[in-house]
Symmetry: D2
Subunit: 326 residues, 4 copies
């Protein structure tokens, strides 16, 4: 890949609320697939595209993009997001303490207390509301103790299957990682794709690597990774993604977006534009490092991606073990 | 598919402990892939086989084989296996009660308390111990409060990807479902495969439909589905599966095996043979009905299967949303 | 105690919604202790009464009125009320598997997933809403994901301390237990108290034994105990309790009230009258059998009661281990 | 109270493992109440002492010694000890979103995921093992996935009722709080008691205030309160407590003991001596500030204490809302 001759920082921009809202309206897809649609941009992903994406499997190399789900994860407990709490219901020690009789089989068993967005995960379209609405105009009254009546992540249970494209921004820039606050704009995505020889198209799952996990690994501590300043997408990235009709975007950060946000007037502008208005799914805390190394090694940045959520009825997010197959 | 002219019951056999243990030893793979191996029969699944399996995707049709994970599931709470408890951490009502300020985005969030084997799941090789050992001779002292030190289900995190074959036993028999206690033997699997025009081979994921979920759906109640008598594999089925070097076997029952077990002298003989000795993974509570209908309709019983577990460190089982792609 | 000569059934009555609502209004205490009060009938319980109640301790006999909190409890999982799930975080087997070094201390540790009303418990005043309000006019918008802003059970954290009186209805009637559907009326409470030689007064905690736990113990199965038909208080009991200005009422049933309810036009009339309107706390699933035996033996049905909830911020109910001291 | 003329620091001592072990043996009570006893020092607490303790109630003033149990607590998640996770199962917003029909009552409901030692709590005798044993010689094989077979905290379910004495060390010293590392010795306890006019006797619950909660409140952050250096008891304190045959000791720190420990050769020497050998119960994270203010105001440092655990079968610790009544 050809990197720019001088490593450069990706400076954030400053947008007004009105500018963000205009972008959101420009990319709004509400009603495009009917008033009852809950799939959003996953509609772009036709069976034909799935079949075509499977043809990207050549070597049979499989990459798990999940962080380990355990107490060593990045969560600090804010808002009830503790790290996954894996607990043994039956323990090897039970078998040692009271050994089975001759011919007796004995089992171990386990459980987890798991905030659904505590590790590698998907945001459901029902995860966020702006001005009282999310995708297709559904309001927060549709998310009750029974979970989301509409726009649950279970809509992806047989849909998060298709073509994945990795855009490895720091590698393109000749850097190890982006720094918190850096904002990847539409033209950065376009140039990175060009440099990689990648095309981004309809129904794609776009994986954008910022290197923030790489950086935290290098220091051996998560610090404020889950909730603090982060590199990520700038608002203009929405133009790149929506014009190409992607199904989803995932990053190796906690919130997809450059933080501090590019607008001081509202929070999480890209969640407003992409998730709520365009119905584009957001993947967060995806570990893209091993995949990125492989893509750099073989020069192939596209792959078959299977990243289906658990089928937890009404869930507004889901842990996921995303699989890239090359 | 050609069914036998007369619908028949699949009668269970009666085996002594010695017979079961001899079968287990015959199929034992301990040491075959080195003394430290934790993958077991997933070793059969080479990159070449993964690549070949992906070529089975033709129409781009995707099937989720997961039950809904919620309080309506089949669990009764025995041994701490309650149904998945999905709980809202932030609720739509919070947004309604204290509406966001202008330009403010507001979120919903959720969590789950989830026994890892409460719904559609995989058994890890560390889930069971017989005579003080599981696959490759590991003992129960290796399963502590930190989970399984060896043979955790996380070994499948990038391995449960390959060729799937459905063997639809009741359809082959011209019946709606098998009854509790019926035992599918090696020759039944062979004949069903032949009738379907299917071959079962190295590294395959074999999905055996008994129809028990179909039956419980027809009566509208799970009853004793999770833990009670069930149709399933007879002991001889291990010969069919191990000779063909399959990676895994999954069924639409709670425990893979015909229950009551074919031996009165020990419990769960097929867990002893397949999971513990042969290192063959067991999938349970898989919902095969929609896939089976499609296979019957197009006559194609093979597909690309992606059924990766969550990457919960040390887990001895995992919920899974298995995906069949045709 | 003098029982009626002939054992008799306590027949339920039939009330219209209007009759229930009139009773509720008659006993409504909203505003009595100011518009911001959250204590309700616990206001009756002055320091003087606490001090006087402590003088009831004579023998130093202590009775725990809690059921065992474990998986053998009466819950069926309906509405997310599973039995308490006690789970080991550190297990004796960890110590056995990796024995401590010389001079090293090693610990076990545990956790619980606990629906707050799954076993012996208190209802908070914020647990129920009728016509959009609970005690002192607070609406359901005050119960958010942060819990109850007002009328949480934590208001009792230093208040559930005072005089307890047991009214042992089946013993008074010369029966082993009441049957489901039987309704204890105001005059039954009065007569039972008279027969026992008990007085019920201001700030008291009245414990009414129906014997339903006794009955379930006798058959060895909870059956539909948690949620099904039950003996309990009839609507008129509210007159007895509110005229005497009791602080709380607790029973050995899942819901205090006779079920089926005495009104076909609304559910849980006594929750409406006592909890919501009078601010009288309701204790449910209290095990009164051992205490009742002792009261019968020594003829003393009054005692010092300490039944403080856990101090879980915002909780709308609480597990409790109520202690009667004689 | 007469404080020493010059505020002084309480310097820790240095002990060898042998010295700690000798102290432990000196205070060992194993076998004193029979080989099957599980009560330990709670045996000292006779009915007579309970009855006498109740006479300490004069004003009817009630003090809750519990911290708020919520996500603002001191835990950091180490070893799975997250703060109490209170979660709504039914939410006020459900009622607002789908208002009840006329005459319909609607409920809120909640649950908690609670590590049993995450807030104000008791250690069970089965919480710790030294040299393979805890009280009365029980080994770690008795703590399985079913919890503790012996020495569970449920043994206190009707026993943690008696005389409480507060020893307010910083107030005696004329200081606001002790600093981490300061160690309260036997003679400090004796002098503080004398200065207060208190006697400590058989079956007592001794509450020792260090002021560490006060200090953390003054800075507005828990910091390393749960698990870090702390003021607390020095090893010699065991002599004071065991000679007087107390039932239990509780402090306003996470671990009762001065930390760093007074012995570099073993951890938690006082847990070894008091909990394991003497069978004296340890209470941790008790909030003693309000009670201490009251004791200073009225000069009375003794009270009736009720601090019963939840009745969670087999638990090795328990949350508690301890109640002091004066």
């Amino acid at each position: 890949m050809n990197s720019p001759s001088t490593p450069r920082r990706l400076e954030p921009r400053t947008l007004s609320r009105a500018q963000v809202e205009q972008t959101a309206e420009r990319h709004r897809t509400w009603g495009r697939w009917g008033p009852d649609d809950e799939l959003g941009a996953a509609n772009y992903l036709t069976a034909d595209l799935v079949a075509k994406a499977a043809q990207l499997v050549r070597r049979g190399a499989v990459f798990s993009l999940s962080l380990p789900m355990d107490r060593s994860g990045p969560q600090t407990g804010v808002n009830g997001r503790v790290n996954p709490q894996h607990i043994m219901l039956k323990h090897g020690g039970d078998i040692l303490a009271v050994p089975p009789e001759v011919g007796e089989l004995r089992a171990t068993d386990d459980a987890v207390y798991l905030p659904l967005q505590s590790s590698t995960q998907w945001d459901a379209l029902a995860h966020m509301f702006y001005d009282g609405h999310t995708y297709n105009g559904r309001g927060p009254e549709t998310v009750t103790s029974q979970g989301a009546q509409f726009n649950s992540i279970t809509n992806l249970r047989d849909r998060a299957v298709g073509r994945g494209v990795l855009l490895d921004i720091p590698r393109w820039l000749g850097r190890e990682w982006l720094d918190p606050g850096e904002a990847i704009q539409a033209e950065d995505l376009a140039e990175c794709a060009r440099a990689q020889g990648s095309e981004v198209g309809e129904g794609d799952f776009v994986l954008v690597r910022t290197g923030q996990i790489t950086q935290r690994r290098s220091v051996g501590s998560w610090g404020d990774y889950a909730g603090g300043p982060a590199p990520g997408l700038g608002v203009s990235a929405a133009d790149f993604l929506c014009q190409r009709r992607v199904a989803a975007i995932a990053t190796d950060t906690w919130g997809v977006e450059a933080l501090p946000y590019e607008s001081g007037e509202l929070r999480a502008p890209l969640h407003i534009i992409l998730l709520i208005n365009a119905g584009v799914y957001l993947g967060e805390l995806w570990d893209l490092d091993a995949l990125a190394d492989d893509c750099a090694a073989d020069g192939t940045y596209e792959f078959f991606l299977v990243a289906v959520p658990l089928s937890i009825t009404g869930a507004v997010g889901s842990p996921v073990n995303p699989i890239a197959i090359k």
